[in-house]
């Protein structure tokens, strides 16, 4: 399932960054199921599209999978937004003078 999702998103969005994470282990489901996924897609195709349109584009590509899986978390960014986001999230903390 994870491979299938990855392949479909790669074909459709030609992402500059793509992460498809199986989060099923975080949920109370029978062993071996693949039911919860989180995806991060960074693509130029999202330029000028509202958040809801981006999700709709992804929902459409994964229409068949969505009939089977239980949950899909979607994070869709343009390359510019992604750089801004990573910069913020990866920013190192400020030195607060504790070394002296």
């Amino acid at each position: 399932m994870q491979t299938e999702i990855t392949k479909k998103l790669e074909n459709e969005f030609e992402p500059s960054f793509l992460k498809v994470e199986d989060e099923t282990h975080m949920h109370n489901v029978p062993a071996g199921s693949q039911s919860h996924f989180k995806i991060i897609v960074v693509s130029e195709r999202f330029d000028g599209e509202s958040l809801i349109n981006r999700h709709r584009m992804i929902n459409k590509v994964l229409e068949d999978e969505l009939k089977i899986i239980h949950a899909l978390a979607v994070h869709a960014y343009t390359p510019e937004q992604w750089i801004e986001k990573s910069d913020k999230e990866l920013a190192s903390p400020l030195c607060e003078g504790g070394g002296k």
Partner: protein, 108 residues
């Protein structure tokens, strides 16, 4: 009234409404919980429908706005999205602005 009319009425009559699994006080799903929490944090008030208590809505809501998953948040009669979008809009401050505008429109 059939189920699509019931959904439509709920969406049109409430400026901010979430269709969720469980209630804001006792959510039954992590995604519903996060989305309702974002709405709580706007401190503006909203309505909710517990879809686990209404199997007919549970079954038919995805058809209503062509959106396959839950929760679903509607502001001023329009679907804004599910958990991820609601959180994103909360974090960038738009959620509060949108909800406030919808509530004001509804009151006038």
């Amino acid at each position: 009234m059939d189920v699509m009319q019931r959904i439509d009425k709920a969406v049109k009559e409430n400026p901010v409404i979430i269709f969720m699994k469980g209630t804001p006080q006792l959510p039954s799903c992590g995604f519903s919980s996060r989305a309702s929490d974002a709405l709580n944090r706007t401190e503006l008030g909203y309505s909710y429908v517990n879809i686990l208590e209404d199997p007919e809505i549970f079954e038919n809501l995805p058809r209503y706005a062509d959106w396959p998953t839950f929760p679903q948040v509607y502001v001023d009669g329009e679907l804004i999205g599910g958990c991820d979008i609601t959180l994103e809009l909360f974090q960038n401050g738009e959620l509060k602005t949108m909800c406030a505008a919808a509530i004001e429109k509804n009151n006038s």
